[in-house]
């Protein structure tokens, strides 16, 4: 398989990387090692660490940072931006629809079963329309590139996509370590993201809120692997970082406990999953939630971002219908491609997948983080056969996709510099406006040949540049 190299076309350096070539090629080894150590020390000092679920070991593990940036030119980015915003509009239209009249189902474009029997479909909010009809306010869209103008969406994250703090900190650290690079290249800034996020949240305050809205970030607590990000964002946005125990419901509103008594909260950017939000409505054993929260939400006393139930739009089964949503709600043709997907609960697809396992990538419908997946071409016959048994036991739990030729980007490795596979997650904000900062999180599979970029599976991150005109 041949891969698109982000920097080189044969011997020629692609335009956006032109000024980086000298920098990379003239960098002495010892200087590189010194800078790498400096970057690591900076990350550790700031406290950006990443805990991996169920792994044990060091809870303060660092996510590896690669100093070689990934670069887009303005024209490439504009196209991506249009595609992402288009997708974000369609996903929110879909959510508004399935919690309302369900036109897309009546029209026969999406099977009712996939929506209404979906685990993430939240019956308790049917008919509840959140402010501005926005359900998913922060959408992380995972993209991979296979050719100059070929981008595929791998998945949409409509609930609580994480990683944006890395986008911001990677930039911060690059600017601190290599100011000259930023003088020589005209790079679009990303540090307006926290302000845009705050504005987005304020724009979806409930109608009952008459003053300037009070927004908070709701975290499961400091043992959560993304806690650093929660506190980082709260800090940059100037809002309180709360846990469930800090909030309580009184009458028709939600309040936080403060040193001066109760204070009303209007918008909750929650970083906990639906089932934990309210023990009276969802899991009764949840210690993370706020009893009575959902009643306040349904009666318009508080906004929850993303809205409960938004997860039904980013399911891997629903994913296959996103191009259809774009046509149905927006009357447009999709700008970004979907990856061809076989859904194993269909007989034809099942048969095809079982015959072609060594070529395909198979994922669990509800899986995430790179767990529970099979990358056919990178697996041994034994691994494939073990996985085959798992699929046979419960076919409807799986989807399959062709193994994509993920683009590579030069990356600093032990022996110097070498191509490694990358993906991209930009963060789209939906409120009174739809906005996207020029950049995102580039994840890189640090192991030679690996196509899995998840940080839980040995992936690293890179700064992502969009050059201005």
């Amino acid at each position: 398989m041949s891969y698109y190299n982000e920097m080189f076309e044969g011997d020629r350096v692609r335009d956006p990387y032109a000024r980086l070539r000298d920098w990379v090629e003239t960098m002495p080894d010892d200087f590189r090692q010194m800078k790498q150590a400096e970057a690591e020390a900076l990350f550790r000092r700031i406290g950006i660490t990443f805990a991996v679920y169920g792994e044990g070991g060091d809870p303060d593990r660092l996510i590896p940072f690669d100093m070689m940036p990934r670069v887009f030119e303005q024209a490439e980015w504009r196209r991506l931006e249009r595609g992402i915003k288009q997708r974000a509009r369609a996903l929110n239209a879909f959510l508004r629809d399935v919690y309302g009249r369900g036109e897309i189902i009546r029209a026969g474009r999406i099977p009712a079963r996939l929506v209404y029997q979906n685990e993430a479909y939240e019956k308790s909010v049917v008919g509840v329309v959140p402010p501005r009809g926005i359900y998913s306010h922060i959408i992380g869209i995972d993209l991979v590139r296979t050719a100059k103008d070929e981008f595929y969406v791998l998945e949409d994250n409509c609930r609580t996509p994480s990683g944006v703090s890395y986008m911001l900190e990677n930039r911060e650290i690059m600017m601190r370590m290599f100011p000259q690079l930023f003088r020589n290249n005209r790079i679009e800034p990303v540090d307006q993201y926290p302000d845009l996020l705050r504005r987005t949240l304020e724009s979806v305050a409930p109608a009952k809120c008459s003053d300037r809205p009070t927004c908070v970030i709701l975290t499961p607590g400091h043992y959560n692997s993304a806690y650093y990000e929660h506190s980082f964002l709260a800090n940059l946005m100037g809002v309180e970082l709360v846990e469930g125990q800090d909030l309580f419901v009184d009458g028709e509103f939600v309040y936080m406990r403060t040193t001066t008594g109760p204070k009303r909260v209007d918008v909750i950017y929650r970083r906990i999953d639906d089932p934990y939000l309210d023990p009276l409505c969802f899991r009764p054993d949840s210690m993370l939630g706020i009893p009575g929260l959902m009643d306040v939400y349904r009666s318009g006393g508080v906004s929850i971002c993303s809205a409960p139930g938004a997860g039904v739009a980013d399911d891997k089964a629903i994913y296959t219908f996103v191009p259809e949503m774009i046509r149905f709600y927006l009357g447009e043709e999709p700008i970004l491609n979907n990856v061809q997907t076989w859904t194993l609960w269909k007989d034809d697809d099942y048969r095809y997948v079982m015959e072609h396992l060594p070529e395909l990538v198979v994922k669990e419908v509800h899986g995430s983080g790179g767990y529970g997946m099979l990358v056919g071409p990178k697996s041994t016959t034994e691994e494939i056969e073990t996985f085959r048994l798992k699929i046979q036991a419960n076919p409807s739990n799986y989807i399959a996709q062709p193994t994509l030729a993920l683009s590579t980007c030069p990356t600093f490795v032990e022996e110097g510099i070498a191509p490694r596979h990358v993906d991209l997650r930009p963060y789209c904000l939906c409120g009174d406006r739809i906005e996207l900062v020029p950049g995102g999180l580039t994840r890189v599979a640090l192991r030679d040949g690996s196509l899995v970029v998840n940080s839980s599976q040995g992936g690293g991150v890179k700064d992502t540049w969009v050059l201005s005109e």
């Binding site: 000092r45 406290g47 400091h222 309180e240 800090d246 406990r257 403060t258 040193t259 001066t260």
Partner: protein
Amino acid sequence: MLSRTASNLFWMGRNLERAETAARLLDVGQRITLLPNTELGYQNEWNSLLQASGSSDLFREKYGDITQENIEEFIFFDRANPSSVASCLEKARESGRIVRTALTSQVWDALNVSYQELRKIERLPRSKLDTASLTDFTTGHTSTVRGAINATQLRNDGWHFMNLGYGLERADATARLLDVKYFVLLPRIEFVGSGLDTYQWQVILRALSAHRAYHWAYGGDITAGQVADFLILNGESPRALITSLYETVWHLEGLARRYGDGVPVSARDKAREVLTALQARDIEMIFDEGLHEFLSWFIRELGEISNLVHQDYLLGGA
């Protein structure tokens, strides 16, 4: 400010001060064992110190024998001992991590570095470490954090809560160290006023980094009355009970002013009352009353102020 944030800042302050106290305790103990001693030998002194920190039962259960190594392990490294330096630094850093948004990056940096360094020390073979360097390590890092707080934190309610933690804990620690000296360390009345007595007072002063300050303040010989005066009633002495309490009142007044009517001030009222009671005494009155009785009263009152801080501010009015 969130009540939970205030609570974490308060406990961050308390735990940093407590880490320092543990290190000072180790230092006092170490110096006392160098004394030509009373009949029961050095074991007795160490036991007194452990009693002062309220952890002698835990020690006996876990280690049995009192040896220099066991004591160091217990007071400095042992996570099972909630008052060990390592436990306190870890808890302080944990509190800081929870309320990162309320700390400046310099404060977090100092706090985080002290924890990373602690983890390095923990990996060293114990034979490479001596008591003095462990004490220096602790006071060095807690001072750096303290300095970062003073230099960079906003003078807002969060700052008051941190300092309340520091103030109450410091008052408590000085009171307990004094109590060890007079009630336990010196069980026999004939030692009072002897050379041994003087040396022990000197040790206490050293442990509080106050022996030079003492000489500047009083000059001349070390006497029990003057040392006690210095550590209880002298407003110039930074670790004196009256100074710590005065600062506590000052921060509670700050909160009351900032929050205005409608937020209860029972902690402030109580702290004022105790301060007034302290100001009304001189050192003779305290010795007449019995130093131990006085200190027990004082430690109880501190506990009460701490409870009222919780009631007034940390429950969130729900």
